[in-house]
């Protein structure tokens, strides 16, 4: 029969890495009895002797509250494995020693794997493992489990510990607690059934600490109820005598004991945290935090909007020129040119999907910047800073989490409201998340900013993001004072990850996945939407034209759009094409851009910027890519005001020219104001249908309609204020 070993440790201490190193491929997966939590076990040998090892769920201590903690505590107390390998994070020794100390108090034979010693050494932390082991009565082994260092030493230590007599650690919990521990001990040691569930002193400690698992095990024993009554009395007495709850008295003494032990070995506090803490003093400071957050956002959006402009132009020219020509040539080869199929492919698919794909470089840059911020640990600081600002106006704590997620996509942001405690907080946050500008809205801003605000694209896009936050805070404030009054806040400590240099691989994976998701969306949602818009454009409802041979204004799409356009007229963008593009944005916000491209039906393929001929086209595509790369590199210093390239002298594309004409015409010559209003409208109006479906699922049909109609009203009002207000003061 194999000897039984358990491996325990705090989350992120490297427990799983060491378990994998010890067992290799000899692993089994099952469930803990009566639980849905997975149980991993495996086997290994030490000098031909076989051991079976069980991987316990990560836990910080043995006072169990969660299911995972209860599993670990119950297994150790009831199964009493021959050896417990406790993985301690050497770079956070104080945090890890609570579990080590509690297992030592339980009286189990223990091997401590002092893991991540390489990280600790880099931070200047030196640990005297001999002294640590002697104090705790255990063997301490240095490991770097990730790289397999020390694994054989751990195996040999397990071999030595198995069969040896365990030395129970006794910590002095002070006169008051010790008196009550002694009182309970007298009760416990006289009952064999109670001594069977764990070392008597440990059982007494767990009872006084309020551990429900220990209490339940004793409650299940016949004739032991008086121990529970004595425990309750002892806890009350400790509280009355010290002024603190019993578990706090025990935790305090253990904390002091561990602090003294760590100080005696390392001689100082762990200095590795200080660099990150210094950064936090600025970035989460109550006065500097928000300006720092705004500065970071400004930088992100300047890079996103300005630096990528040469690539955007390159993709646009490639899609409109060579790709469109190649598609027409291919259709000609199969005899499908000149008819409705060519119209579907060129005016529907290529115009629609192509117009969205043009923005791939922009989204790539946005996702790159977001990934750098995420992996460095800044995003959580930004969330914390936003939280402070929002709570000041009555928006619930924790609302910032889904709202930050909303910068990526509104749908997961709405589902992220599940992390909030009360239904009121969830609903309020769900109503606010759509105001955070998701990635899909960015192409709309970039298109209009490039046409009307070419000299300040990044700043205009940045102002949209800022406006979204501002509107969310304002609406949240109004709702929390009226329909959704504030509940009692939940006490909650936010533990931020340490700052670190972003890992290139992690960043690349994130950027690749997110950009891939956007491209996939263009290949599915946008493709279908573009084809649907093309179909509605091809269907005549008035005039003399036939299918796919009708004036756009006479098409079904034109008729619907014309019906909606008057509502938008006071906002400066009451042209039916603009109304139609906003209608299609309900499918997905990127579709606004693809519909604009289809409606203006610009034929850039006729431009003469590329030579005709497949290989000449290919050569020009390559050459222009190199030129775009060079321009991008030269554009980077411009973000901080060093202009080495004039990026605004490029000739507007046919689409941009058509957009400009349309906005100028529809607004009576105030195109810039109307475009700004249009961007505000896109930022604030009803989110895409996937987000609406998510909202309905989470909050019900009634609130879904309130959200949809409310957002439309807010967007209308916002755009109205921009256009009419701007006109009033003579702007535009």
């Amino acid at each position: 029969m194999k000897r039984r070993v358990a491996i325990a440790g705090c989350p992120n201490a490297g427990k799983t890495s060491l378990f994998n190193q010890l067992t290799g491929a000899k692993q089994k997966v099952g469930n803990w009895p009566g639980q849905t939590v997975e149980q991993f076990s495996g086997e290994f040998e030490v000098a031909t002797e076989g051991f079976e090892i069980v991987d316990l769920p990560g836990c910080y201590g043995l006072v169990a509250v969660s299911a995972e903690e209860a599993i670990a505590a119950t297994y150790l107390a009831e199964e009493r494995p021959e050896v417990v390998v406790t993985v301690a994070d050497a770079s956070n020794l104080t945090g890890s020693l609570h579990l080590v100390a509690q297992i030592a108090e339980l009286g189990l034979q223990q091997v401590v794997a002092l893991n991540m010693v390489d990280v600790a050494e880099r931070r200047g932390i030196e640990i005297d493992e001999q002294r640590l082991g002697a104090t705790l009565g255990v063997e301490v082994v240095r490991t770097v489990a990730r790289r397999g260092l020390g694994t054989e030493d751990v195996k040999r230590a397990i071999g030595r510990a198995a069969g040896a007599t365990a030395q129970q650690l006794v910590i002095d919990y002070g006169p008051v607690a010790e008196r009550h521990i002694g009182g309970l001990l007298e009760n416990i040691v006289t009952r064999p059934e109670m001594t069977a569930i764990g070392a008597p002193r440990w059982t007494a400690l767990q009872l006084l600490a309020g551990d429900t698992g220990t209490r339940d095990r004793i409650a299940a024993l016949a004739g032991c109820d008086d121990v529970l009554v004595a425990t309750a009395t002892a806890r009350d007495d400790i509280s009355a005598e010290t002024g603190y709850e019993a578990e706090m008295v025990l935790a305090e003494r253990r904390f002091e004991w561990i602090a003294r032990l760590v100080a005696s070995m390392t001689g100082s506090v762990e200095p590795g945290l200080l660099w990150s803490d210094r950064m936090d003093r600025v970035l989460t400071n109550r006065f500097l935090g928000i300006p720092a957050f705004i500065a970071v956002m400004w930088l992100v959006l300047r890079v996103t909007a300005d630096v990528t402009a040469p690539y955007l132009d390159w993709v646009d020219a490639t899609m409109a020129g060579p790709v469109s020509r190649w598609a027409v040539d291919l259709l000609g080869l199969v005899g499908a040119d000149g008819g409705w199929i060519e119209s579907l492919v060129v005016d529907g698919v290529l115009a629609g999907v192509g117009a969205v794909l043009v923005f791939v470089p922009v989204l790539f840059a946005l996702y790159l910047m977001l990934a750098l911020l995420e992996d460095s640990g800044y995003m959580s600081r930004a969330a914390a800073v936003m939280d402070r600002a929002m709570r000041a106006v009555g928006i619930p704590g924790k609302a910032f989490l889904p709202m930050m997620v909303g910068f990526g996509c509104t749908v997961p942001a709405i589902y992220a409201t599940r992390t909030l405690d009360s239904s009121r907080d969830r609903l309020l946050t769900g109503l606010l998340t759509p105001f955070m500008s998701c990635g899909a809205r960015l192409p709309v801003y970039i298109l209009l900013a490039a046409v009307f605000f070419a000299d300040a694209k990044g700043s205009v896009v940045f102002s949209m993001y800022l406006l979204g936050i501002g509107v969310a805070v304002f609406i949240g404030f109004l709702l929390s004072k009226t329909a959704l009054r504030e509940d009692d806040p939940t006490p909650f400590v936010m533990v931020l990850p340490e700052f670190r240099l972003p890992n290139a691989r992690t960043v690349w994976v994130l950027v690749r996945q997110r950009t891939g998701s956007f491209i996939k969306g263009a290949g599915t949602t946008i493709l279908l939407a573009s084809m649907a818009v093309w179909l509605l454009l091809a269907l005549p409802v008035s005039g003399d034209g036939g299918f796919a041979d009708t004036e756009i204004e006479s098409s079904a799409f034109g008729a619907v759009s014309k019906g909606v356009a008057p509502i938008l007229d006071p906002l400066g963008f009451g042209e039916w094409e603009q109304a139609g593009s906003l209608l299609s944005g309900f499918v997905a916000k990127e579709v606004v851009v693809s519909t604009v491209a289809q409606l203006y039906s610009v034929d850039e393929a006729e431009s003469d910027q590329y030579a005709i001929g497949f290989f000449d086209d290919l050569k020009d595509v390559g050459t222009s890519f190199v030129e775009a790369s060079a321009d991008t590199l030269r554009a980077i210093p411009a973000v901080v005001g060093l202009d080495f390239i004039d990026l605004d002298d490029s000739t507007p594309t046919a689409l941009q020219a058509a957009v400009r004409t349309s906005f100028e015409t529809g607004s009576g010559g105030r195109g810039r104001l109307a475009a700004l209003g249009f961007m505000v409208f896109v930022l604030l109006y009803t989110p895409c249908m996937a987000a609406v479906a998510a909202f309905r699922q989470e909050f019900g049909t009634r609130w879904m309609w309130i959200s949809v109609l409310g957002q439309f009203a807010i967007a209308w009002l916002g755009a109205f204020l921009v256009f009419q207000g701007g006109k009033l003061v003579g702007l535009g």
Binding site: V63, G210, E245, L273
Partner: protein, 93 residues
């Protein structure tokens, strides 16, 4: 009773609070607050709570996302805040 003082500050805060803010309020270094939080976690008075991540799988399992959804737990549009929350717990007598 440093831990009790820390717990009082957490409960006194109207909602989420940062370790750096707790350090400022208690007049200690953030590294000491981190150690005290570990002690409170080990004592069961502070419980870890996942605050980002699970929503991604919730989102996918509901099937309401767009057609480009990559599958359970792999929502690439989910911004990972990499932070955990610790909630105060009450232990039964």
């Amino acid at each position: 009773m440093k831990l009790a003082a820390l717990l009082t500050e957490i409960e006194r805060a109207s909602g989420p609070i940062l370790g750096t803010d707790l350090a400022h309020r208690l007049g200690v270094e953030p590294v000491e607050v981190a150690a005290m939080l570990s002690a409170l976690k080990a004592s069961g008075r502070l419980g870890p709570e996942a605050t980002s991540g699970p929503a991604a799988s919730d989102c996918v399992s509901s099937g309401a996302c767009s057609m480009s959804c990559p599958g359970p737990g792999e929502c690439s549009l989910m911004i990972d805040l990499s932070m955990t929350g610790l909630e105060v717990r009450r232990l039964a007598n």
